[in-house]
Symmetry: C2
């Protein structure tokens, strides 16, 4: 099937004089998860993972992806001609060098300008120029080859009320006006969908796992234009938007609008977010600037923090009930990983304001837990029994919160020393980072190592970053602060500010045996101001017990025992009122204070 | 006196049509410490610290320095018109913006091209261009104003024998030839004095505290030219150099030589080391590259490591005898900080191969210890008694090693809880970093935090980096690896490689009360190779007891007690054979194992 699609594509390429086409995984808004309409790379390669780039020439179909996806690519592309190129650095554009080395001089590469940032076009050109290779926009080619392409979504767009977000559109536009003034600029062009959702206080269901609206925003001193589709709004929201001074234009007209702005105008935009089609349409002066909205959005106000705590509590209730059910169920039955994921969803659905998963849950039993971005297939996933280790990384979208939590639990039998050691070192790493105090201004790269130090001491490590920012009824992975062991993303290079939400999620993966990860969301706070500056710290807001049966007490200090007892006391206090007597009893037991042996 | 010098300078400036002159602190080789001949900034400002830039206009004499030197500048410049401008970031060229804001359009700034790197000239021009400000070379102006300027040194240049360095000139030139081949280049231009010393295996006394030779090197495929002064060499070394293919030219002819290389030649050089006068002389193609010699030099061979250990042992003996003497002496006497520094030198002088201090020793009693780069003045330094805390940061040049060690000791009385807590947290930080295992590739910034984590936990911190590379009978501060909490120098951005020498020196400074620092030199090693990569660690090579009387046992863990006991066992074993019975007894007591209370 994939080969047939590639064949049709190549015929069209020949017709149009294209020697290669690059298919990235994003949409015109550089989104991580994309609407079905934009799943072009998946359509032509069969690979459905979230990160990967397909390059098609007349002779090759080459797919770049990183180590998280090697196994998945092998499985999903085994029957097609698509060949995996292993990326050394996730998200690095290693395919560009390959294309320019592979293609003859004076070749033409087709790309959809909407899917590439200005920075990326510049990068490609720096290689292409050496061989006189040309880039050509292909705005309609996909449609012509992909006959049954899904339609663009038409789902209703909803108000994200002030009770959840704590700041009105007018107030947010006010921040933009000040930004324009400070930069002597006329417009802010907003193209990130999470930024649009935050700025206009709107949500919909355009993108998998993420309640976003496909739109652009153009905020001027006297005008706030939202490029979307009027029919998707109800009358009340339309009136509210109008009252806030928002003018609606059709999504398709953004290019036209940009080209009409007079040449003297100064437009602020984010070089990494703006796609090349928009860029090419602008005649005015572009002021590139890291997105101010991303910074504003990353700092949560009191209303947002309160709502997030409510979401965490609901997640805790759902997970408590799920784990109780699982314990009982496995006494007499078995269940596949896939089914387990479905059941977990059912428990979350019982919670008020739930709208769906915040990402495809990872349910990895034993060796499958070692596959970092594992997705249990609907057919043929592993059968879970009442023994061994189970990793579940899952999250929810509630109308007032986004959650993301990983727990690794022991289902029965006797765990190996190796497993207990790994579990304990990972937990020690979590505690080390979560309880650290650090001077304001400390960046992600400087903090990340604390989650790894105990593993390092035993020659162990994990191949992913330690944490990411998270939205509020928005994207589960939000840019900005985080913890990473390199400077390749903002997660490693930005300082943590007060009232940001970040995950802490160290792990350990023994290939073919087991995977371990423990993850909470934390809120960053100022904890002290001394002669030596302002010191920050974290408070966990995820409330769900951490399995203590896998702790190796030889490796666990008195301070760590105290930490887990305090955390469990907090979990019990947060959840008990919403549980019945039997559930309370179960939770009480899971939250029982440890005694240092 | 300073004002008179400035007056003479300004008269000359007027004569030459100069509106401002910039005096940096370095010599034409970007050296940290410079020969007397190059102490131009000190001559015109009175400020003798190692980092600072003087800008003189007709109306102002403005000195930029960083927080390490604020007190010293205030003291040394109080009687002249020189005014301190406080730098926020050490070494940052904050004065450039100031000059360009202060001077009228079309002004002329005089600078000695030899004292500015190409990168710096480019930086200045980027500001100057906006106001049509011109730079003008002043190769002879200083000489004309500074009548009693010291002569350039004429000291003998000596062979650095293979028994100390472990690698012949020929082998080192071979590395350069390979570098030229790999880069299809014709020459390597070497201008860093530490690089010259390493590459040619030569040493002299041109620069304070550092056994370097003022010279340039130009290595081609078939020629190795050393620009120095023939009369400074003895016949034997001349013969050895000749045998290794080295041709001697006069130091002053480097510009002429560079200008004579034909245009088609490719010359590799380090943008940050090359001065603008050399740059301007080159007609060929310049290949900028971070210095390969710095990388080669930073990795010590087995002979160098063995020699360094010998140097550390001698330093340990000298310090042991000094501390024994001090203990006895203070029972009946007092002594100034300045005198104490002299006495310490006397003890080091007794050691074989000693040639001098590796930097101006810091002897800071009580509150003076809180002044990070304190130098006890010859007259009026504090009087040390047998009570309170004393910080001594000192180092030696031996013909086979360079040392750098800081110890903070308690002289008598009852230490405050605050002091004990600070001392213990600093020591815990030292131990945390020194015992850390980390994956190969981890950079300085990721490691630096481990030395601070215990201080941070109590809202404490210190305002300097945690460690630096160190040479071998060479510079005490060598570029390359290190530990820093930012990316402003290579210390924060480079990964540690096997067999590098680095200091670990966390501290804590309570203004007006006390200063604490504990510093050892460590050698980096590969400690483990696992499924998760290669893991590195450190081994301390400094051997000198660490004062245990200031340890707060409440804050010290079992593991830390074990660490200090093991370290002291190692110190005692390394030093005992060179001590007499009484000295052995003293050391044994200082190295007595602690028992965890």
């Amino acid at each position: 099937m994939i080969n047939a699609r590639l064949k049709a594509l190549r015929a069209k390429m020949q017709e149009d004089g294209l020697d290669a086409i690059i298919f990235p995984s994003n949409d015109p808004h550089q989104s991580e998860y994309v609407a079905d309409y934009w799943k072009i790379r998946a359509y032509f390669s069969g690979f459905t993972g979230s990160a990967g780039t397909l390059v098609v020439t007349q002779n090759e179909a080459a797919l770049w992806s990183d180590s998280r996806y090697f196994l998945q690519v092998e499985q999903q592309c085994s029957e097609s001609e698509v060949e995996l190129h292993k990326q050394r650095i996730p998200h690095a554009p290693e395919h560009i060098r390959w294309i320019c080395e592979t293609l003859p001089e004076k070749s033409t590469i087709g790309i959809d300008y909407r899917l590439f940032s200005c920075g990326m076009i510049e990068f490609i050109n720096s290689f292409a120029a050496t061989k006189d290779i040309t880039l050509k926009d292909i705005p309609t080619l996909i449609e012509e080859v992909w006959k049954d392409r899904p339609a663009q979504t038409n789902a209703p767009i909803k108000d994200h009320p002030i009770a959840y977000c704590g700041e009105s559109r007018e107030e947010k536009f006010g921040r933009v006006h000040q930004l324009l003034e400070e930069n002597k600029a006329d417009y802010l062009l907003v193209s990130g969908l999470d930024e649009i959702a935050w700025l206009f206080n709107i949500r919909s269901t355009d993108v998998d796992f993420t309640p976003l609206v496909t739109a652009y925003g153009l905020i001027g001193k006297d005008s706030s234009v939202l490029y979307s589709k009027e029919s998707r709004f109800d009358q009340r929201l339309l009136a509210d938007l109008k009252a806030a001074g928002v003018q609606l234009e059709d999504y398709s007209t953004i290019g036209n609008s940009l080209s009409k702005l007079s040449k003297g105008r100064r437009i602020i935009t984010d070089q990494n977010a703006l796609n090349y089609a928009c860029f090419a349409a602008i005649e005015g002066e572009i002021v590139y600037q890291p997105s101010a909205i991303q910074s504003w959005k990353s700092i949560k106000n009191a209303t947002e923090i309160e709502n997030a705590r409510d979401g965490m509590r609901k997640d805790g209730i759902a997970l408590t009930r799920f784990f109780i059910w699982l314990e009982n169920y496995l006494e007499e039955n078995t269940i596949t990983e896939y089914e387990l994921g479905r059941r977990l969803e059912e428990f979350r659905k019982e919670q008020d304001l739930y709208t769906g998963q915040s990402f495809a849950a990872i349910v990895g039993y034993k060796a499958n837990g070692a596959i970092i971005h594992y997705t249990a297939p609907e057919k043929g996933s592993a059968t879970v029994k009442n023994e061994g280790v189970l990793l579940i990384d899952s999250g929810a979208q509630y109308q007032n919160a986004t959650t993301d939590i990983t727990r690794t639990i022991w289902l029965g039998g006797t765990p190996s020393d190796d497993l207990k050691k790994a579990y304990t070192l990972v937990l020690k790493g979590y505690i080390a980072l979560e309880t650290l105090r650090f001077p304001k201004g400390t960046i992600g790269m400087q903090l990340d190592s604390f989650a790894r130090m105990h593993l390092w001491q035993h020659g162990m490590n994990y191949g992913h970053g330690t944490g990411h920012g998270i939205g509020l009824f928005s994207m589960v992975h939000e840019p900005g602060q985080g913890f990473a062991n390199g400077a390749t993303t903002s997660r490693g290079t930005l300082a943590h500010e007060e009232n940001q939400f970040t995950t802490i999620e160290p792990g350990f993966y023994r290939e073919g045996a087991f995977g371990i990860r423990t993850e909470n969301i934390v809120v960053s706070k100022v904890v002290d101001t001394t002669d030596f500056g302002t010191f920050m710290g974290f408070e966990p807001i995820t409330v769900c017990p951490i399995d203590t049966t896998l702790i190796d007490h030889e490796l666990f200090t008195v301070q760590e025992v105290e930490w887990i007892n305090a955390y469990h006391a907090k979990v019990y206090a947060a959840l008990k009122n919403d549980l019945n007597a039997e559930e309370q009893k179960w939770l009480k037991e899971k939250c029982n204070p440890l005694v240092r042996s």
